[in-house]
Symmetry: C2
Subunit: 266 residues, 2 copies
């Protein structure tokens, strides 16, 4: 199977993100009373996140079936389908809790891996209309106030670093939580509540470190190439490939990545 | 001094928020390299948050001097000025850490108190263009995808509640942290990372509880009337007036407010 060119990849991904946005926004911040009326109308176990998640993944899969019918797909809601060296890895709503709360840190993740290497990703924030993506050399953004190239910032020491992490509940054991706390004590500032948006802001040069655990492949596949093409590094806590998820560290500055990894492993 | 009518208040507040937006956005997500160049050009101790905060507060104060020259003003950056029963209480950037990280939970808070009672508030999110405000009977929102009335949702029991809190570092002592943890263990879901945006989402019926500490008057003054006109309650942890800040609890459902307060005081 031949490689798709990046111009097609990017325009296809924007189209897939448009479809996901159309599927998701009608459910976002919808009052529960209205959702419950829909539930009474025949959908049992109906909840806005599940409905939006499933509708968006179906919309993305329908688009992929048109553009790349031979590619494999792995999605949060409908699992794996197809058999190919080219695999799309999608999370229709990354950050479902933020979505439920009406916050803005969630997004639609659309990634493409070739022979287990992440080569392309797009993060879309449907409410703000922001998009973040990469090609072979660089990463890019567009939003309501402009567009441009994503570039991580230099930050050569932990004492000057700003760190993000979605939630302390990600750390399932003291073996995970203790190294995180060690890092949190060493950096200049650490805040919770990031979801995929924190990785986009790392790529954009506003955050220096994202350190998380309990991640799935679909939580990270689209973000890895965006972070790396913007100049950052994204691996597991022991420096392995991030594609399978698990314990993940992303740093805008490769020097900082090495320092943070050393402290995590102490 | 006569009372301003609400139609003038609301149109003035939108104008003040427009001015603050114009002052803030040029500093938001600006690469540090560019900010440092400005610093080298003669501004020592320059940082983007301080610059944006100060410029926005000056812009709001200039507007108030035109519209309500006799009113008093209390702002985060420039303190108190004027002497009147009518006091504007403003926080040009509530959520400075979120602002620094490029996240979206920060906002501009513009409140008005009369004889120490908060009567009007506006929260503006400059990047998304969202606005949240109140009049004497209701609260309202407008944003990139529409506009409408803000209405809190019913949630009569802690076990069904979704709670937000900006950061665990708000709790300065075990006497504050222990009651919060008790509440976090009793609710359905609790997340960090809210800033003023969490109160807006509580007013909009997406979040049931916001429980915080170490707040200043300018962190809450604008939010109280929005939350209360939307149907919620906002007080200190012991049920007193929220205007002075400190330990604050906001609930969308007054029944839930009483339950949560009881658990905090146990």
């Amino acid at each position: 199977m031949s490689a798709p060119d990046f111009i097609s990849l990017i325009s296809t991904a924007h189209n897939l993100a448009d479809r996901a946005t159309a599927a998701i926004l009608p459910h976002y911040r919808m009052p529960l009373a209205i959702e419950n009326k829909l539930a009474t109308a025949g959908m049992s176990g109906f909840d806005p996140v599940t409905a939006a998640d499933q509708a968006a993944e179906r919309a993305i899969r329908a688009g992929l079936a048109e553009y790349f019918p031979d590619h494999a797909i792995e999605g949060e809601e409908y699992g794996r389908s197809g058999d190919s060296d080219w695999r799309w890895i999608i999370d229709p709503i990354d950050g479902t809790r933020a979505f439920m709360m009406g916050m803005l840190s969630w997004g639609t993740l659309i990634g493409l891996a070739h022979e287990e290497r992440p080569i392309f990703g797009m993060m879309a924030q449907p409410y703000t209309g922001e998009r973040f993506w990469n090609d072979t050399t660089s990463a890019y953004w567009r939003g309501p106030h402009g567009s441009g190239v994503l570039k991580t910032r230099s930050c050569a020491s932990l004492s000057g670093a700003v760190m993000a992490c979605t939630d302390p509940s990600m750390f399932k054991s003291e073996a995970e939580h203790a190294p995180f706390r060690r890092l949190a004590a060493a950096v200049k500032m650490s805040r919770f509540g990031g979801d995929c948006y924190a990785y986009a802001m790392l790529a954009a040069g506003n955050i220096d470190l994202v350190v998380e655990a309990s991640l799935q492949s679909y939580d990270v596949a689209a973000l890895i190439p965006i972070v790396e093409r913007a100049g950052g590094r994204m691996t597991t806590w022991d420096g392995g490939p991030a594609l399978a998820g698990g314990r993940i560290i992303a740093a805008g500055d490769p020097t900082l990545h090495a320092q943070a990894m050393a402290l995590l492993q102490q």
